[in-house]
Symmetry: C2
Subunit: 364 residues, 2 copies
Amino acid sequence: MSSGNPFLNTERRPHVDGLFDAHEVALSNRNPGIPLEALRHDVSPIGLHYLLTHFDVPYVPEDDWQVEIAGRVRTAQALSIADIKALPARTLTVTLECAGNGRANMRPRYPSVPWAYEAVGTAAWTGTPLRHVLNGAGLFDDAVEISFIGADRGYDRGQEHAYGRSLKRRDALSEDVLLAWAMNGQPLPPQHGFPLRLIVPGWYGMASVKWLKRIEALATPYDGFQQVSSYMYRTAPDAPSTPVTHMRVKSLLIPPGLGDFYSRHRMVEGGPIPLFGRAWSGAGVGITRVELGIDGAWQEARLGPEQGKFAWRAWSSTWNAERGEHVLSCRATDASGDTQPLTARWDVGGFGNNAAQQVHVHVR
Amino acid sequence: MSSGNPFLNTERRPHVDGLFDAHEVALSNRNPGIPLEALRHDVSPIGLHYLLTHFDVPYVPEDDWQVEIAGRVRTAQALSIADIKALPARTLTVTLECAGNGRANMRPRYPSVPWAYEAVGTAAWTGTPLRHVLNGAGLFDDAVEISFIGADRGYDRGQEHAYGRSLKRRDALSEDVLLAWAMNGQPLPPQHGFPLRLIVPGWYGMASVKWLKRIEALATPYDGFQQVSSYMYRTAPDAPSTPVTHMRVKSLLIPPGLGDFYSRHRMVEGGPIPLFGRAWSGAGVGITRVELGIDGAWQEARLGPEQGKFAWRAWSSTWNAERGEHVLSCRATDASGDTQPLTARWDVGGFGNNAAQQVHVHVR
């Protein structure tokens, strides 16, 4: 085996300059973000919601999928999609964001998907609350966590594994955690987890396991790679780590005017320019304020109606554009009092960057 | 205005190394390719088909779209989507590939979307043959070209324009050129041209104008930016240019085994490995042969059934994998006798690269 064998590599060296390698470009193309103009849609149309596929999208042509319910339950069982659809259903409108969103704006930059701002989307997910399945199987009192294993399998930093994550017992029994089989009123598309996935509202997307094959009640905490070795905040490579969980408060604006194809820089005519964007938070307490920044000066934006506890909220404002070069920005505050920072909190793995967006605009 | 103003830049300098700039990464993320494992699907599910959005995806919430039929016709008119749906409809299964697919594998590399292999997809498009609309309006005899203008507008190399392309009269009157309103049996998604787009089977994707607003019959050739200044083959910056038209013969294989998250390199267990892929050509004459390459030795692959004149064809083969590092490849031949080259024909703009794919696999 060659020393450069990626299947043996356990570490990736951070990039310190502003250039990207071919692996990052390929990951960026495989894992699309939402085009920012699509923030206009309350619910992101299929094909515009961001995607992060850790390994390969499983090919599932047949309708014989089963999900195992195993571990610390009275009645281990294998449920078909029909079994799950027979349980009480809910539809929740949920904003999901990748925990690595904003990674490309950190220096140095961890080598992974180089998201700038676009790893976010909102969908209407239909499914049954997970607790119906757990209650049906009979959770033992000693079950402290529930693990969720997908059909997707591969290598990451030298370790072969199926994608898996866990939730603490109390979180898993929430009415809001869904076993979802539909997205925007349609069967799940292959890339969003067909035929069954988990949806964990309020959390970064890594918790919402796709292509769900196995649910296991555990008497000890789950120690899968994606739970304990990835998705951890670290302020330095050897610093103690904290699990990545809920989405930090964040907002985005749709770049106004016309864009340049290559640079995506924006051009507008001087005068009053309507601006529109979205704000969200994983705290589940609502967005209370969005401010529009113009060259560092902040003005209050108008908030649109709420779309429920877990979905982004529209905001709008007007900018009186004057000739020259300008930087637009926005920052949201949620009901817990958290506000977006103006600069990124650096993180080893590039997680949780909720710094205010910057959009460069040329006014003529 | 600063000298770096992208709205005044008329040239972009080619990249000569293997690294990519932040604009290329952003374009790669905005313009997703098909994940190669999705080649399994005869028709690409919505959200897995490649996308190239030159400017912004127009936001079209209302149902009052009209397309103008203008220029050298007896009866200029504005048609609603209902008017167009009242005309005879056809559904065609069509493979579309971006003319810039493979650009990332050229040295030097033109700064644009850095596609490796993934800018391709196949969909079932439903619409009316364009000729019904042209005949209804009454083309004058002096109409030599028909131009198609989309609602998407922006800048490219210093020029503001709406995205537009043209077809010669004879091509435009083909029964196979569609004004399409549905993709895979659903209304067009916003990113694929809702509510109306052109589909030009056999051609690279740039011909299939999205968000179609205006169809104009012209007595002289169309000279829009995307027709005469972009999408031209050039062997050197000052060499004569040739228009990019039909797709060159090409094939792809699904990388076998398990992948490494970051490098996307593949790992398989030794033994017989089934391989599967797709082949297509814009010549409209069918694929007659696909060969599987293993470390430079070629073996005949089996062809699957045809899916019509304009869609990719499945192929499969078996590889007896032996321990070590290997390079898999594939090359297709069409009925006109064209075969894929083993190395890229270099092009200034990075167009038309149909060189055989290479997939690195580690066998343990």
